[in-house]
Symmetry: C2
Subunit: 234 residues, 2 copies
Amino acid sequence: MGIKQRQERDREAVRRAILDAARELFMSEGYGNVSIRKIAERVEYSPAALYSYFPSKDDIFFALAEDGFQLLHDAPSRGAVDACLPLERIRATFARLYQFSLDHPEHFSLMFVDRTVPRIGQEYERFTLARQMKAQLVSQVQQCIDAGLFPHGTPALVASRLLAASLVGVALMRLSDRLAPGENGEDLALDVVDVVIAGLQSGIRLRSHSLTDPCPLEAPRAATGLHPSEEPHP
Amino acid sequence: MGIKQRQERDREAVRRAILDAARELFMSEGYGNVSIRKIAERVEYSPAALYSYFPSKDDIFFALAEDGFQLLHDAPSRGAVDACLPLERIRATFARLYQFSLDHPEHFSLMFVDRTVPRIGQEYERFTLARQMKAQLVSQVQQCIDAGLFPHGTPALVASRLLAASLVGVALMRLSDRLAPGENGEDLALDVVDVVIAGLQSGIRLRSHSLTDPCPLEAPRAATGLHPSEEPHP
DNA sequence: TTAGTAAACTGAACACTGTTCACATAGACG
DNA sequence: CGTCTATGTGAACAGTGTTCAGTTTACTAA
Protein backbone atom coordinates (compact mmCIF):
# COMPACT_ATOMS: atom_id res chain seq x y z
CA MET A 1 0.00 0.00 0.00
CA GLY A 2 3.04 2.30 0.42
CA ILE A 3 3.48 2.34 -3.34
CA LYS A 4 2.19 5.83 -3.83
CA GLN A 5 4.42 7.04 -1.01
CA ARG A 6 7.46 5.30 -2.48
CA GLN A 7 6.70 6.79 -5.88
CA GLU A 8 6.50 10.23 -4.39
CA ARG A 9 9.75 9.63 -2.54
CA ASP A 10 11.47 8.54 -5.74
CA ARG A 11 10.19 11.57 -7.53
CA GLU A 12 11.41 13.87 -4.79
CA ALA A 13 14.81 12.15 -4.91
CA VAL A 14 15.15 12.82 -8.62
CA ARG A 15 14.04 16.39 -8.05
CA ARG A 16 16.76 16.81 -5.45
CA ALA A 17 19.33 15.22 -7.75
CA ILE A 18 18.46 17.75 -10.44
CA LEU A 19 18.85 20.64 -8.01
CA ASP A 20 22.13 19.26 -6.68
CA ALA A 21 23.48 18.86 -10.20
CA ALA A 22 22.40 22.39 -11.05
CA ARG A 23 24.06 23.76 -7.93
CA GLU A 24 27.31 21.89 -8.54
CA LEU A 25 27.40 23.09 -12.12
CA PHE A 26 26.93 26.66 -10.87
CA MET A 27 29.99 26.26 -8.68
CA SER A 28 32.30 24.70 -11.25
CA GLU A 29 31.10 26.11 -14.55
CA GLY A 30 29.98 29.57 -13.59
CA TYR A 31 26.64 31.20 -13.85
CA GLY A 32 25.35 31.30 -17.39
CA ASN A 33 27.26 28.25 -18.55
CA VAL A 34 24.92 25.80 -16.93
CA SER A 35 22.45 24.38 -19.40
CA ILE A 36 19.54 21.99 -19.22
CA ARG A 37 21.54 19.52 -21.28
CA LYS A 38 24.49 19.59 -18.88
CA ILE A 39 22.23 19.10 -15.88
CA ALA A 40 20.43 16.27 -17.65
CA GLU A 41 23.71 14.57 -18.55
CA ARG A 42 24.87 14.79 -14.93
CA VAL A 43 21.73 13.16 -13.55
CA GLU A 44 21.69 10.69 -16.46
CA TYR A 45 18.32 11.68 -17.84
CA SER A 46 17.32 13.10 -21.16
CA PRO A 47 16.94 16.89 -21.31
CA ALA A 48 13.22 16.49 -21.92
CA ALA A 49 12.79 14.54 -18.69
CA LEU A 50 13.69 17.57 -16.56
CA TYR A 51 10.59 19.30 -17.88
CA SER A 52 8.38 16.90 -15.99
CA TYR A 53 10.08 17.99 -12.76
CA PHE A 54 10.39 21.72 -13.43
CA PRO A 55 8.26 23.65 -15.91
CA SER A 56 11.27 25.67 -17.08
CA LYS A 57 14.91 26.39 -16.42
CA ASP A 58 13.87 29.49 -14.51
CA ASP A 59 11.98 27.34 -12.04
CA ILE A 60 15.12 25.37 -11.28
CA PHE A 61 16.81 28.63 -10.35
CA PHE A 62 13.80 29.62 -8.32
CA ALA A 63 13.95 26.38 -6.37
CA LEU A 64 17.69 26.94 -5.84
CA ALA A 65 16.97 30.35 -4.38
CA GLU A 66 14.50 28.71 -2.01
CA ASP A 67 17.30 26.35 -1.04
CA GLY A 68 19.46 29.39 -0.43
CA PHE A 69 17.07 30.85 2.12
CA GLN A 70 17.07 27.52 3.90
CA LEU A 71 20.88 27.51 3.87
CA LEU A 72 21.03 31.02 5.26
CA HIS A 73 18.45 30.14 7.85
CA ASP A 74 20.52 27.16 9.00
CA ALA A 75 23.88 28.92 8.75
CA PRO A 76 25.90 28.92 11.96
CA SER A 77 26.72 32.29 13.39
CA ARG A 78 30.28 33.29 14.22
CA GLY A 79 29.06 36.05 16.46
CA ALA A 80 26.49 35.79 19.20
CA VAL A 81 23.10 35.78 17.55
CA ASP A 82 21.60 34.82 20.85
CA ALA A 83 23.57 37.49 22.66
CA CYS A 84 21.84 39.47 25.33
CA LEU A 85 22.78 42.78 23.80
CA PRO A 86 20.37 43.44 20.93
CA LEU A 87 22.88 45.58 19.08
CA GLU A 88 25.34 42.69 19.07
CA ARG A 89 22.63 40.47 17.69
CA ILE A 90 22.11 42.81 14.78
CA ARG A 91 25.84 42.96 14.12
CA ALA A 92 26.02 39.18 14.26
CA THR A 93 23.07 38.84 11.90
CA PHE A 94 24.72 40.93 9.24
CA ALA A 95 28.14 39.41 9.78
CA ARG A 96 26.46 36.10 9.11
CA LEU A 97 24.81 37.48 5.99
CA TYR A 98 28.13 38.73 4.65
CA GLN A 99 29.78 35.41 5.46
CA PHE A 100 26.95 33.73 3.59
CA SER A 101 27.75 35.84 0.53
CA LEU A 102 31.31 34.52 0.75
CA ASP A 103 30.40 30.89 1.31
CA HIS A 104 27.52 30.70 -1.15
CA PRO A 105 28.00 33.46 -3.71
CA GLU A 106 25.76 31.84 -6.28
CA HIS A 107 22.92 31.40 -3.81
CA PHE A 108 23.39 34.94 -2.53
CA SER A 109 23.26 36.23 -6.06
CA LEU A 110 20.05 34.39 -6.82
CA MET A 111 18.44 35.54 -3.59
CA PHE A 112 19.42 39.21 -3.49
CA VAL A 113 21.01 40.34 -6.74
CA ASP A 114 19.89 38.49 -9.77
CA ARG A 115 17.55 40.04 -12.27
CA THR A 116 17.87 37.44 -15.02
CA VAL A 117 15.46 34.94 -13.43
CA PRO A 118 12.20 36.87 -13.59
CA ARG A 119 10.29 34.71 -11.16
CA ILE A 120 12.67 35.44 -8.28
CA GLY A 121 12.09 39.16 -8.38
CA GLN A 122 8.42 38.93 -9.25
CA GLU A 123 7.31 36.25 -6.83
CA TYR A 124 9.47 37.28 -3.94
CA GLU A 125 6.61 36.98 -1.52
CA ARG A 126 6.64 33.23 -2.04
CA PHE A 127 9.91 32.90 -0.12
CA THR A 128 8.34 32.37 3.26
CA LEU A 129 11.68 31.89 4.97
CA ALA A 130 12.82 35.25 3.66
CA ARG A 131 9.75 36.86 5.16
CA GLN A 132 10.35 35.08 8.42
CA MET A 133 13.99 36.13 8.67
CA LYS A 134 13.11 39.67 7.76
CA ALA A 135 10.49 39.78 10.48
CA GLN A 136 13.10 38.49 12.91
CA LEU A 137 15.44 41.31 11.94
CA VAL A 138 12.74 43.94 12.33
CA SER A 139 12.00 42.60 15.77
CA GLN A 140 15.69 42.76 16.67
CA VAL A 141 15.73 46.41 15.65
CA GLN A 142 12.55 47.01 17.63
CA GLN A 143 14.21 45.56 20.70
CA CYS A 144 17.04 48.03 20.25
CA ILE A 145 14.51 50.84 20.14
CA ASP A 146 12.72 49.54 23.21
CA ALA A 147 16.04 49.25 25.03
CA GLY A 148 16.80 52.87 24.20
CA LEU A 149 19.73 51.99 21.94
CA PHE A 150 17.99 53.62 19.00
CA PRO A 151 16.01 56.83 19.42
CA HIS A 152 12.40 56.38 20.34
CA GLY A 153 10.33 56.73 17.19
CA THR A 154 12.89 55.12 14.88
CA PRO A 155 10.90 53.18 12.27
CA ALA A 156 12.12 49.63 12.79
CA LEU A 157 11.24 48.46 9.30
CA VAL A 158 13.00 51.32 7.59
CA ALA A 159 16.04 50.92 9.81
CA SER A 160 16.30 47.24 8.97
CA ARG A 161 15.99 48.00 5.28
CA LEU A 162 18.77 50.58 5.45
CA LEU A 163 21.02 48.09 7.20
CA ALA A 164 20.24 45.30 4.76
CA ALA A 165 20.63 47.45 1.65
CA SER A 166 23.99 48.76 2.81
CA LEU A 167 25.35 45.33 3.52
CA VAL A 168 24.04 43.92 0.25
CA GLY A 169 25.76 46.83 -1.49
CA VAL A 170 29.11 45.89 -0.03
CA ALA A 171 28.59 42.20 -0.75
CA LEU A 172 27.65 43.04 -4.31
CA MET A 173 30.78 45.12 -4.82
CA ARG A 174 32.88 42.15 -3.81
CA LEU A 175 30.86 39.65 -5.82
CA SER A 176 31.05 41.74 -8.96
CA ASP A 177 34.78 42.39 -8.68
CA ARG A 178 34.38 46.10 -8.01
CA LEU A 179 36.75 46.17 -5.04
CA ALA A 180 40.19 47.72 -5.37
CA PRO A 181 43.09 45.30 -4.85
CA GLY A 182 43.90 46.42 -1.30
CA GLU A 183 40.29 46.67 -0.18
CA ASN A 184 39.02 44.21 2.40
CA GLY A 185 35.39 43.35 1.76
CA GLU A 186 34.79 41.93 5.20
CA ASP A 187 36.12 45.06 6.94
CA LEU A 188 33.96 47.19 4.68
CA ALA A 189 30.93 45.06 5.48
CA LEU A 190 31.43 45.30 9.24
CA ASP A 191 32.17 49.00 8.94
CA VAL A 192 29.06 49.76 6.94
CA VAL A 193 26.87 48.06 9.52
CA ASP A 194 28.54 49.95 12.35
CA VAL A 195 28.29 53.24 10.51
CA VAL A 196 24.61 52.79 9.70
CA ILE A 197 23.92 51.81 13.31
CA ALA A 198 25.75 54.91 14.50
CA GLY A 199 23.84 56.99 12.01
CA LEU A 200 20.52 55.60 13.23
CA GLN A 201 21.55 56.31 16.80
CA SER A 202 22.21 59.94 15.91
CA GLY A 203 18.49 60.35 15.54
CA ILE A 204 18.41 62.21 12.25
CA ARG A 205 15.02 62.58 10.67
CA LEU A 206 14.20 59.95 8.01
CA ARG A 207 12.15 60.54 4.89
CA SER A 208 10.87 56.99 4.53
CA HIS A 209 7.50 56.18 6.00
CA SER A 210 7.36 53.14 8.18
CA LEU A 211 4.31 51.66 6.43
CA THR A 212 3.87 49.42 9.47
CA ASP A 213 4.65 46.35 7.43
CA PRO A 214 1.35 45.93 5.56
CA CYS A 215 1.59 42.39 4.31
CA PRO A 216 3.78 40.34 6.65
CA LEU A 217 6.87 41.50 4.82
CA GLU A 218 8.03 42.17 1.33
CA ALA A 219 5.86 41.68 -1.68
CA PRO A 220 6.22 41.87 -5.43
CA ARG A 221 4.91 44.38 -7.94
CA ALA A 222 7.41 47.20 -7.61
CA ALA A 223 7.78 49.11 -10.85
CA THR A 224 11.32 48.56 -11.94
CA GLY A 225 12.01 50.85 -14.86
CA LEU A 226 14.04 48.00 -16.23
CA HIS A 227 12.42 45.51 -18.53
CA PRO A 228 11.22 42.55 -16.43
CA SER A 229 14.06 40.47 -17.78
CA GLU A 230 13.86 37.90 -20.44
CA GLU A 231 10.95 35.60 -20.80
CA PRO A 232 12.56 32.31 -21.78
CA HIS A 233 11.12 32.05 -25.26
CA PRO A 234 8.20 34.03 -26.71
CA MET B 1 43.76 63.02 -49.45
CA GLY B 2 41.00 63.06 -46.82
CA ILE B 3 40.03 59.56 -47.90
CA LYS B 4 41.56 57.81 -44.92
CA GLN B 5 39.85 60.31 -42.61
CA ARG B 6 36.49 59.79 -44.26
CA GLN B 7 36.92 56.03 -44.04
CA GLU B 8 37.68 56.28 -40.35
CA ARG B 9 34.67 58.55 -39.88
CA ASP B 10 32.43 56.08 -41.67
CA ARG B 11 33.75 53.27 -39.55
CA GLU B 12 33.17 55.20 -36.36
CA ALA B 13 29.62 56.00 -37.51
CA VAL B 14 28.83 52.33 -38.01
CA ARG B 15 30.36 51.55 -34.63
CA ARG B 16 28.08 54.12 -33.03
CA ALA B 17 25.07 52.76 -34.90
CA ILE B 18 25.82 49.31 -33.51
CA LEU B 19 26.06 50.64 -29.96
CA ASP B 20 22.86 52.68 -30.38
CA ALA B 21 21.02 49.65 -31.70
CA ALA B 22 22.30 47.55 -28.82
CA ARG B 23 21.22 50.18 -26.30
CA GLU B 24 17.76 50.56 -27.81
CA LEU B 25 17.29 46.81 -27.82
CA PHE B 26 18.26 46.71 -24.14
CA MET B 27 15.50 49.20 -23.39
CA SER B 28 12.74 47.52 -25.36
CA GLU B 29 13.61 43.85 -25.28
CA GLY B 30 15.22 43.47 -21.89
CA TYR B 31 18.62 42.36 -20.92
CA GLY B 32 19.40 38.87 -22.14
CA ASN B 33 17.06 39.00 -25.10
CA VAL B 34 19.33 41.13 -27.20
CA SER B 35 21.28 39.05 -29.68
CA ILE B 36 23.94 39.75 -32.25
CA ARG B 37 21.45 38.88 -34.95
CA LYS B 38 18.88 41.40 -33.70
CA ILE B 39 21.48 44.14 -33.48
CA ALA B 40 22.70 43.26 -36.95
CA GLU B 41 19.20 43.33 -38.38
CA ARG B 42 18.58 46.75 -36.83
CA VAL B 43 21.70 48.29 -38.35
CA GLU B 44 21.07 46.40 -41.61
CA TYR B 45 24.30 44.43 -41.59
CA SER B 46 24.95 40.74 -41.49
CA PRO B 47 25.69 39.28 -38.04
CA ALA B 48 29.22 38.47 -39.14
CA ALA B 49 29.90 42.10 -40.00
CA LEU B 50 29.63 43.16 -36.35
CA TYR B 51 32.66 41.03 -35.59
CA SER B 52 34.87 43.39 -37.55
CA TYR B 53 33.76 46.20 -35.23
CA PHE B 54 33.73 44.35 -31.91
CA PRO B 55 35.68 41.17 -31.18
CA SER B 56 32.75 39.69 -29.26
CA LYS B 57 29.33 40.42 -27.84
CA ASP B 58 30.93 41.08 -24.47
CA ASP B 59 32.91 43.92 -25.95
CA ILE B 60 29.74 45.61 -27.12
CA PHE B 61 28.52 45.52 -23.52
CA PHE B 62 31.87 46.80 -22.35
CA ALA B 63 31.67 49.74 -24.74
CA LEU B 64 28.11 50.40 -23.53
CA ALA B 65 29.34 50.56 -19.95
CA GLU B 66 31.94 53.09 -21.06
CA ASP B 67 29.08 55.05 -22.58
CA GLY B 68 27.33 54.81 -19.25
CA PHE B 69 30.16 56.47 -17.38
CA GLN B 70 30.10 59.26 -19.93
CA LEU B 71 26.33 59.59 -19.44
CA LEU B 72 26.69 59.72 -15.68
CA HIS B 73 29.51 62.21 -16.01
CA ASP B 74 27.35 64.47 -18.17
CA ALA B 75 24.15 63.98 -16.15
CA PRO B 76 22.60 67.18 -14.84
CA SER B 77 22.29 67.47 -11.09
CA ARG B 78 18.99 68.25 -9.43
CA GLY B 79 20.76 69.33 -6.28
CA ALA B 80 23.63 71.74 -6.05
CA VAL B 81 26.76 69.85 -7.00
CA ASP B 82 28.59 73.13 -7.07
CA ALA B 83 27.14 74.14 -3.73
CA CYS B 84 29.40 75.81 -1.24
CA LEU B 85 28.60 73.35 1.50
CA PRO B 86 30.65 70.20 0.89
CA LEU B 87 28.12 67.99 2.64
CA GLU B 88 25.41 69.19 0.27
CA ARG B 89 27.69 68.39 -2.63
CA ILE B 90 28.04 64.81 -1.44
CA ARG B 91 24.28 64.51 -1.00
CA ALA B 92 23.75 65.91 -4.48
CA THR B 93 26.33 63.54 -5.96
CA PHE B 94 24.53 60.49 -4.63
CA ALA B 95 21.09 61.85 -5.42
CA ARG B 96 22.35 62.16 -8.96
CA LEU B 97 23.67 58.62 -8.90
CA TYR B 98 20.34 57.27 -7.71
CA GLN B 99 18.52 59.29 -10.34
CA PHE B 100 20.88 57.83 -12.90
CA SER B 101 19.89 54.33 -11.79
CA LEU B 102 16.28 55.33 -12.48
CA ASP B 103 16.91 56.98 -15.83
CA HIS B 104 19.41 54.46 -17.19
CA PRO B 105 18.86 51.18 -15.35
CA GLU B 106 20.58 49.09 -18.01
CA HIS B 107 23.66 51.29 -18.00
CA PHE B 108 23.69 51.35 -14.20
CA SER B 109 23.48 47.60 -14.14
CA LEU B 110 26.35 47.19 -16.53
CA MET B 111 28.49 49.68 -14.62
CA PHE B 112 27.89 48.64 -11.02
CA VAL B 113 26.01 45.36 -10.79
CA ASP B 114 26.49 43.05 -13.68
CA ARG B 115 28.60 39.95 -13.36
CA THR B 116 27.65 38.30 -16.64
CA VAL B 117 29.99 40.38 -18.79
CA PRO B 118 33.36 39.25 -17.47
CA ARG B 119 35.38 42.07 -18.96
CA ILE B 120 33.51 44.76 -17.03
CA GLY B 121 34.45 43.37 -13.66
CA GLN B 122 37.89 42.27 -14.65
CA GLU B 123 39.07 45.33 -16.54
CA TYR B 124 37.42 47.90 -14.34
CA GLU B 125 40.56 50.00 -14.24
CA ARG B 126 40.09 50.75 -17.92
CA PHE B 127 37.10 52.99 -17.18
CA THR B 128 39.08 56.18 -16.78
CA LEU B 129 35.96 58.26 -16.24
CA ALA B 130 34.99 56.02 -13.34
CA ARG B 131 38.37 56.59 -11.76
CA GLN B 132 38.04 60.30 -12.32
CA MET B 133 34.59 60.53 -10.76
CA LYS B 134 35.67 58.42 -7.85
CA ALA B 135 38.64 60.69 -7.23
CA GLN B 136 36.26 63.64 -7.31
CA LEU B 137 34.09 62.00 -4.66
CA VAL B 138 37.06 61.24 -2.44
CA SER B 139 38.14 64.86 -2.68
CA GLN B 140 34.62 65.99 -1.74
CA VAL B 141 34.80 63.82 1.35
CA GLN B 142 38.26 65.17 2.12
CA GLN B 143 36.88 68.70 1.96
CA CYS B 144 34.27 67.73 4.53
CA ILE B 145 37.03 66.44 6.78
CA ASP B 146 39.07 69.59 6.29
CA ALA B 147 36.02 71.70 7.05
CA GLY B 148 35.51 69.81 10.30
CA LEU B 149 32.22 68.25 9.14
CA PHE B 150 33.69 64.78 9.50
CA PRO B 151 36.01 63.89 12.37
CA HIS B 152 39.66 64.56 11.74
CA GLY B 153 41.31 61.29 10.78
CA THR B 154 38.33 59.91 8.89
CA PRO B 155 39.74 57.92 5.96
CA ALA B 156 38.27 59.71 2.96
CA LEU B 157 38.58 56.75 0.63
CA VAL B 158 36.86 54.35 3.01
CA ALA B 159 34.13 56.85 3.75
CA SER B 160 33.42 57.33 0.07
CA ARG B 161 33.28 53.58 -0.45
CA LEU B 162 30.81 53.14 2.39
CA LEU B 163 28.60 55.84 0.93
CA ALA B 164 28.77 54.40 -2.58
CA ALA B 165 28.18 50.81 -1.51
CA SER B 166 25.14 51.78 0.55
CA LEU B 167 23.56 53.73 -2.25
CA VAL B 168 24.29 51.01 -4.80
CA GLY B 169 22.65 48.56 -2.42
CA VAL B 170 19.43 50.57 -2.36
CA ALA B 171 19.49 51.08 -6.12
CA LEU B 172 20.02 47.37 -6.61
CA MET B 173 17.07 46.51 -4.41
CA ARG B 174 14.86 48.65 -6.58
CA LEU B 175 16.33 47.40 -9.83
CA SER B 176 15.91 43.78 -8.86
CA ASP B 177 12.33 44.18 -7.65
CA ARG B 178 13.18 43.53 -4.02
CA LEU B 179 11.23 46.50 -2.67
CA ALA B 180 7.97 46.00 -0.87
CA PRO B 181 4.94 47.58 -2.58
CA GLY B 182 4.74 50.59 -0.30
CA GLU B 183 8.45 51.22 -0.18
CA ASN B 184 9.82 54.35 -1.82
CA GLY B 185 13.24 53.70 -3.31
CA GLU B 186 14.15 57.34 -3.61
CA ASP B 187 13.37 58.04 0.03
CA LEU B 188 15.41 55.01 1.03
CA ALA B 189 18.31 56.19 -1.13
CA LEU B 190 18.33 59.66 0.37
CA ASP B 191 17.93 58.23 3.85
CA VAL B 192 20.79 55.80 3.51
CA VAL B 193 23.14 58.58 2.44
CA ASP B 194 22.05 60.77 5.34
CA VAL B 195 22.37 57.92 7.81
CA VAL B 196 25.85 56.95 6.62
CA ILE B 197 26.91 60.60 6.76
CA ALA B 198 25.56 60.85 10.31
CA GLY B 199 27.34 57.63 11.21
CA LEU B 200 30.62 58.92 9.85
CA GLN B 201 30.15 62.14 11.79
CA SER B 202 29.71 60.15 14.98
CA GLY B 203 33.39 59.33 14.76
CA ILE B 204 33.21 55.60 15.43
CA ARG B 205 36.38 53.67 14.80
CA LEU B 206 36.56 51.97 11.39
CA ARG B 207 38.23 48.64 10.67
CA SER B 208 39.09 49.41 7.05
CA HIS B 209 42.54 50.71 6.31
CA SER B 210 42.69 53.77 4.15
CA LEU B 211 45.34 52.33 1.80
CA THR B 212 45.99 55.89 0.63
CA ASP B 213 44.61 55.08 -2.79
CA PRO B 214 47.58 53.15 -4.22
CA CYS B 215 46.87 53.16 -7.91
CA PRO B 216 44.80 56.24 -8.84
CA LEU B 217 41.64 54.41 -7.91
CA GLU B 218 40.08 51.03 -8.24
CA ALA B 219 41.74 48.15 -10.00
CA PRO B 220 40.87 44.63 -10.95
CA ARG B 221 42.03 41.28 -9.60
CA ALA B 222 39.96 40.89 -6.49
CA ALA B 223 39.29 37.25 -5.71
CA THR B 224 35.58 36.81 -6.10
CA GLY B 225 34.72 33.39 -4.82
CA LEU B 226 32.27 33.24 -7.66
CA HIS B 227 33.30 31.75 -10.96
CA PRO B 228 34.53 34.58 -13.20
CA SER B 229 31.35 34.30 -15.21
CA GLU B 230 30.99 32.72 -18.54
CA GLU B 231 33.59 33.00 -21.20
CA PRO B 232 31.60 33.45 -24.39
CA HIS B 233 32.65 30.28 -26.15
CA PRO B 234 35.61 28.04 -25.36
C1' DT C 1 -1.54 -14.36 -16.05
C1' DT C 2 -2.94 -11.06 -18.96
C1' DA C 3 -4.89 -6.86 -20.73
C1' DG C 4 -5.23 -2.16 -19.97
C1' DT C 5 -3.65 2.25 -18.39
C1' DA C 6 -1.25 6.02 -16.74
C1' DA C 7 2.99 7.85 -15.68
C1' DA C 8 7.89 8.36 -16.90
C1' DC C 9 11.13 8.85 -20.17
C1' DT C 10 13.34 9.39 -24.79
C1' DG C 11 14.82 10.93 -29.71
C1' DA C 12 14.19 14.03 -32.77
C1' DA C 13 13.01 18.19 -34.03
C1' DC C 14 12.20 23.56 -33.87
C1' DA C 15 13.72 27.94 -33.40
C1' DC C 16 16.98 30.22 -31.38
C1' DT C 17 21.98 31.70 -29.81
C1' DG C 18 27.44 33.40 -30.47
C1' DT C 19 31.01 32.71 -33.55
C1' DT C 20 33.94 31.44 -37.68
C1' DC C 21 35.37 31.24 -42.40
C1' DA C 22 35.59 30.78 -47.41
C1' DC C 23 34.03 33.70 -50.66
C1' DA C 24 32.20 37.96 -53.10
C1' DT C 25 32.36 42.84 -53.88
C1' DA C 26 33.40 47.44 -53.87
C1' DG C 27 36.66 51.19 -53.57
C1' DA C 28 41.43 53.12 -53.60
C1' DC C 29 46.02 53.07 -55.70
C1' DG C 30 49.76 52.33 -59.14
C1' DC D 1 43.14 49.42 -66.95
C1' DG D 2 44.47 45.75 -63.46
C1' DT D 3 45.68 44.81 -58.68
C1' DC D 4 44.99 44.75 -53.93
C1' DT D 5 42.98 45.42 -49.60
C1' DA D 6 39.33 46.28 -46.68
C1' DT D 7 34.55 45.41 -45.91
C1' DG D 8 30.59 42.62 -45.91
C1' DT D 9 28.06 38.19 -46.80
C1' DG D 10 26.00 33.20 -46.65
C1' DA D 11 26.46 29.25 -44.85
C1' DA D 12 27.82 26.55 -41.52
C1' DC D 13 29.20 24.77 -36.58
C1' DA D 14 28.21 23.94 -32.10
C1' DG D 15 25.56 25.28 -28.64
C1' DT D 16 20.96 26.84 -26.23
C1' DG D 17 15.67 26.24 -24.13
C1' DT D 18 11.68 23.89 -25.25
C1' DT D 19 8.08 20.72 -27.34
C1' DC D 20 5.99 16.50 -28.78
C1' DA D 21 4.97 12.02 -30.93
C1' DG D 22 6.20 7.81 -29.39
C1' DT D 23 8.19 4.18 -26.61
C1' DT D 24 9.18 2.02 -22.40
C1' DT D 25 8.09 1.03 -17.72
C1' DA D 26 5.30 0.01 -13.64
C1' DC D 27 1.24 -0.50 -11.53
C1' DT D 28 -3.97 -1.88 -11.51
C1' DA D 29 -7.96 -4.53 -12.58
C1' DA D 30 -10.01 -8.60 -14.77
